[in-house]
């Protein structure tokens, strides 16, 4: 059949319409180049040196300027898998004491000079054995390292004193920025006030109290990345102002966390312009019970305190009003070494039958000679969220077993130095926030006090110490899991040295335009921004 002109035109128009139709969603997941990512940061760091600082206020704006030897897989929601970064591959010797890394070639610092193995060595020497006067906050984590060697410009070798199941993870630490060796040789303090890395973004400016700007590194070694033209980190301390920025579409994302009510308000206001990612958070408030003060030197009393707490019901109520949610043991739920809920519920303080649990608690108190109505002081840190609601909840739970607890709030700057560290308390709120979910980091706090002064319950337990060392040196994940379970049981149940409250819960509502960013339990991870892009 021959088509008329009208027919041809009609078919042409229909074809054109079909071609112009919206692309299916799957096709839009291809990264798009361009755009400036804007995000508020609630805190500003005192210096720019990742080896020295501990605040996320450094990581969020400054991580994009640097690379690390390994990194955590940016697509892994558990945030536990080390993958290649500056190191393109590695081998581990049969004795598990030597790790050899092959570096990418052609990696350039932002001044154009090439990064080689001597820069890796210099950076790690600064972390592990800092020169006098140079701060290295996490050097204790690398006590296992015997030496860092550079057999050739593209190979770096770590020799260990003993095998370590966590060593690769420790090299993926987001704090271990790789610095230039020549710069460190001239002035080891240089990086405290200056920026020069190999990262996907180059430093443009930092206006104190205001913002940090970075722009795309056109010579980035990972070809095709980054996707963004740049980023702008705004220092915004007030959480209401941060929410307003996201709600007003002046910022795309805040990388730490928002409260549940902020998430709900943003969803109500912006609908499908907002996406929400949530995760258990590698932060938890703990209860330290001073073993040097009676009656908390008696494990029956400590077990009673934990048995009184109904964590399962508490989770439902408290997650509505503050940033806690999951019931957890010593590892973040959903991560490789976390105890599943049905096993956890066998531990003291995690029983599903709270009446039975509290009956047992009262029985233990009677046996220990603690009278009904016994009074003690619970010291807490003067930070509203989530310290205050958790303390109120704990005190109420202890009241259920006849304990009369006074709540004393101490100003934050003085809390650890003047109260908790010197042991000036009976029972006190403690805190742990990890930068990566790794038992070596998370369990270190609980070894004996003579090994770690941050054990604020002030006990000595060689069984725990031995379990810690064994799990740290184990290369077999299943064996390690068993050892960690045994550690957890002794810590939280048999000896009740410490009490876990509820795991913090991380909520990141962000602009639907932000793609490629994966939430993990750590707010220190996935901030290099090389895989992040902005959809149209």
């Amino acid at each position: 059949m021959r088509l008329s002109n009208v027919g041809r035109i009609t078919i042409g128009l229909l074809l054109a319409a079909a071609l112009a139709a919206p692309v299916p969603a799957a096709a839009q997941d291809k990264p798009r180049y361009g755009g400036e990512l804007i995000f508020p940061v609630p805190s500003e760091p005192p210096s720019y040196d990742g080896h020295r600082e501990e605040t996320f206020g450094l990581i969020h704006p400054w991580a994009p300027f640097y690379n690390t030897l390994l990194r955590v897989d940016p697509n892994d929601p558990s945030g536990t898998k080390p993958v290649a970064s500056l190191a393109e591959s590695w081998t581990i010797a049969k004795d598990d004491l030597t790790y050899t890394f092959k570096l990418h070639r052609g990696v350039k610092f932002h001044d154009g000079s090439e990064m080689t193995s001597k820069d890796i060595k210099a950076s790690y020497d600064k972390i592990i054995s800092p020169p006098p006067g140079v701060g290295s906050t996490r050097k204790g984590q690398y006590a296992v390292v015997e030496a860092v060697e550079t057999p050739d410009p593209y190979t770096v070798r770590f020799r260990l004193k003993w095998p370590s199941g966590a060593f690769l993870t420790s090299l993926a630490s987001p704090w271990n920025f790789i610095y230039k060796a020549d710069v460190l040789a001239k002035d080891p303090h240089w990086y405290e006030k200056n920026v020069m890395g190999t990262g996907p973004f180059t430093f443009v400016e930092h206006v104190k109290g205001s913002h940090v700007v970075g722009k795309k590194n056109p010579n980035y070694w990972d070809k095709g990345k980054p996707y963004l033209d740049g980023f702008r980190a705004l220092f915004v301390r007030d959480s209401a102002a941060q929410v307003a920025l996201v709600r007003g579409e002046r910022a795309h994302i805040q990388f730490r966390s928002f409260a549940a009510k902020d998430r709900d308000n943003l969803k109500a206001a912006l609908g499908d312009k907002i996406r929400v990612q949530e995760s258990p958070w590698d932060c938890v408030l703990l209860v330290a019970m001073n073993h040097e003060k009676k009656p908390f030197d008696d494990k029956r009393v400590r077990r009673a305190l934990t048995l009184a707490i109904d964590r399962w019901e508490g989770s439902k109520a408290l997650s509505q009003i503050t940033i806690v949610k999951e019931v957890a043991g010593v590892q973040v739920p959903g991560t490789p070494y976390a105890t599943p809920p049905d096993e956890l519920s066998k531990l003291a303080g995690y029983w599903k039958d709270i009446n039975a649990s509290r009956a047992e608690a009262k029985k233990l108190l009677r046996e220990a000679g603690v009278p009904d109505g016994f009074s003690f002081t619970f010291k807490n840190r003067g930070i509203p969220t989530p310290y205050e609601p958790l303390a109120i909840w704990l005190i109420d739970q202890w009241r259920q077993i006849g304990l009369n607890v006074k709540h004393e709030v101490i100003e934050s700057a003085a809390y650890f130095g003047r109260v908790v560290r010197p042991g000036d308390f009976e029972v006190a709120m403690d805190f742990q926030c990890g930068y990566i979910v790794e038992p070596d980091l998370d369990l270190y706090k609980f070894v004996s006090r003579d090994k770690n002064p941050a054990n604020y319950s002030r006990y000595t337990d060689r069984v725990l110490d031995e379990l810690y060392d064994k799990q740290s040196r184990s290369q077999d994940p299943e064996e390690r899991k068993k050892l960690i379970r045994a550690f957890e049981k002794r810590l939280l149940d048999e000896e009740a040295h410490y009490m876990m409250t509820l795991q913090w819960h991380r909520i990141i509502p962000h602009s639907a335009k932000v793609r490629g960013w994966q939430i993990t339990p750590s707010h220190y991870l996935n901030n290099t921004l090389d895989v992040v892009w902005l959809a149209e």
Partner: protein, 319 residues
Amino acid sequence: MWKYILKRFLLMIPTLLGVAILAFVLLRMVPGDVVEARYIGAGQGQFVDQTLMAQERVRLGLDQPLWKQFADWMWGLLRGDLGISMWTETPIVAEIRLRFALSLQLAIMATVIATVLAIPLGIIAALKQDTWVDYVVRVFSITGLAMPSFWLGILIILGFLIIFRWLPPMVYTPFWVDPWQNLLQLIWPALAVGYRYSAVATRMTRSAMLEVLREDYIRTARAKGLWLKLILVRHALKNAMLPVVTVIALEFAFLLGGLVVTEQVFNLNGLGLLFVEAVARRDYTLTQALVMLVASAYIIVNFFMDIMYAWLDPRIRYR
């Protein structure tokens, strides 16, 4: 008069010295120091060893005897050297200079708004005492007194977001770089603060005017048939302004470093926030410098106020 001015300048020295001693002593009485705030407060503090902390204290001079720390600071002040911040280890002058322009501009804008609102409203309320005009002005001023400026600021932001789907700029642009962006950011906090500030000044203006309008010389002026405008401007206002000027001047001095919560709400990089953070971090040097800055502001403002009294009221003459 010059003798008086000289005497007042010289009196500033012991006043500032007293402030310096108080600030120095009180800060060190509070538990904790900057090293603890930096390394123990964060959740990874378990890996920080005492050697590092001791080393940091030596580096910051915290191991020195207190008298030496005070003497070093005083000697620096005399040379105009405020020292370095213990938290950031950058010169304090740089830290303050960055934020001073914003705080000063905000203080000036809020003062202008307050004055423009307060004086006319106060005069009208006094003239129309016990009429509906007076009641409206009094309700307006009491509302301003009852409403915290930061809360009004939150309402302003929420109002913009919900009604106009718009947010004021949250990054400071100096006036000389882009006046429009600058004013777009600062007009809102200036209005929030200025309103609260005008409430106090309105009530003071009203009270002062009522008192002056009852004086015999005002009655005489009226009896002579002078215009009301002339009576107000030439005879009443100047005399009524003495307490009003005091209130406005003292509030201005306060605004330089006291708008902590407003600065947080509007995300302003000002001196108030810097002050609170310095105290929370136990940044002794920065806190001391800020205390001296605010104290100097109060002393200078008071001084200019006293000079202005002499201009406003010819009966006041200093010897």
